[in-house]
């Protein structure tokens, strides 16, 4: 539980959500974050994923399902390929830095559920270790998660145990690879040289003073 250092504002409704969840799940809640007045994130363990879903649906009355997706926290090793071919290639950054509610692994599954009675939403995150990219399916919890899990499976390669039909949703049958992983390159950017290399314009306000000026004025 974090409170923003500037404003000692406590979002009580959302804090109550985290407290109730911690009460029901105990040690399965391993991280959380609140942006006061805005949103709440909770990270749970992979083993408790199904239970967490049932708890939020039944005990916290988050009955509406928004989406289920995944985040690959590896920084893009390829870049945009918009530099001149003679420029030195920047060193790819391989640090994995995760976002709100923490995280230790490269892949995280994130799901969002909504409550129409309390008008709150909840983001649930779960870490997946690199060698075991599988998670229990949420089909018994929300029927609408069917296609979302299929999409995550084909885009990231994460298996959902118990899903009856984990086939490709969007991609043709012969497609190889998992496109939304950061190490899947967009080949067209490699094959075609970037047309903007020919006439390179400096970025607007590329001198530091103008930038510092505008930033100062914006504060």
């Amino acid at each position: 539980m974090e409170e923003t250092p500037e404003a000692p504002e406590v979002d009580e409704a959302r804090q109550a959500v985290i407290d109730k969840l911690t009460e029901e799940l105990g040690e399965a809640v391993v991280g959380s974050h609140i942006r006061p007045g805005d949103d709440v994130w909770v990270r749970v363990t992979a083993e408790s994923w199904r239970t967490a879903g049932l708890v939020v649906r039944d005990h916290l009355s988050f009955r509406a399902f928004e989406y289920l997706s995944a985040i690959d926290w590896l920084p893009n090793p390829y870049g945009k390929n918009e530099d001149a071919p003679t420029d030195p290639r920047p060193e790819p950054n391989t640090d994995i830095v995760t976002g709100y509610a923490g995280g230790d692994t490269r892949f995280q599954v994130i799901a969002r559920v909504q409550s129409y009675t309390s008008k709150l939403g909840l983001n649930l995150k779960v870490d997946l270790p690199d060698d075991d990219l599988s998670l229990a399916t949420w089909l018994p919890v929300y029927a609408g998660v069917n296609w979302h899990e299929r999409e995550v499976h084909e885009m990231f390669g994460i298996t959902f145990t118990g899903h009856p039909y984990l086939q490709n949703l969007y991609l043709p049958g012969e497609f190889e690879g998992h496109p939304l992983r950061k190490d899947f390159p967009l080949l067209a950017r490699f094959v075609k040289p970037w047309p903007g290399i020919v006439d390179v314009e400096p970025m607007p306000a590329s001198d530091d003073e103008a930038e510092a000026e505008t930033e100062e004025a914006a504060e």
Binding site: Y170, L171, P172, F175, P179, F184, L186, L187, A188, R189, K192
Partner: protein, 166 residues
């Protein structure tokens, strides 16, 4: 039709046949993405009425269509269907590629699932650029196509050779 095949069709008859063909194009009622809405506006809206050019947007089956307008993004998954539909159209058939997605991949030029241009799969007669092109732009494309048809050599078209129009 031995006259047509052997190329001995007299000029006035050729131009008569070409004129009648170009003013009675039946466009296949099919669109893929956003350009299809502009195509729908061109075909169905009273303002950009395409029927005044003689182009009737009635056929929902490719077997009865002369002209197909590929309007919208072409994905790799859709390409076999497009090829099949093109093959089902009877000759003489024409293709207008509408919008930048069908011309060259458009804003999705670097996507992993988009075909960068429908001319890799089917031969295109007229390219209409835009994202999306206004209905008037599509009408201009159709007019250009009609001019092209008016100058066609029927023998070449009958034999199925590639058409070279001066």
């Amino acid at each position: 039709m031995g006259l047509v095949e052997s190329g001995k069709l007299p000029k006035p008859l050729t131009s008569l046949l070409n004129t009648s063909r170009k003013y009675s194009l039946w466009i296949f009622q099919w669109g893929l993405a956003c350009c299809a809405i502009e195509m729908g506006a061109a075909l169905g809206a009273p303002r950009y009425d395409v029927m005044r050019l003689g182009v009737i947007p009635l056929p929902a089956s490719p077997r009865q269509a002369d002209l197909v307008c590929i309007s919208g993004t072409v994905t790799d998954k859709m390409v076999p269907a497009i090829r099949r539909l093109y093959d089902q159209m009877p000759d003489p058939k024409y293709v207008i590629s509408m919008g930048s997605c069908a011309n060259c991949g458009g804003p999705y030029w670097d996507s992993y699932s988009v075909t960068k241009g429908i001319d890799q799969v089917i031969p295109v007669d007229v390219y209409v650029p835009g994202c999306p092109p206004r209905p008037e732009a599509l009408l201009e494309g159709i007019v250009l196509l009609q001019e092209r048809i008016g100058k066609e050599d029927m023998a070449t078209r009958w034999k199925g050779d590639p058409i070279v129009v001066s």
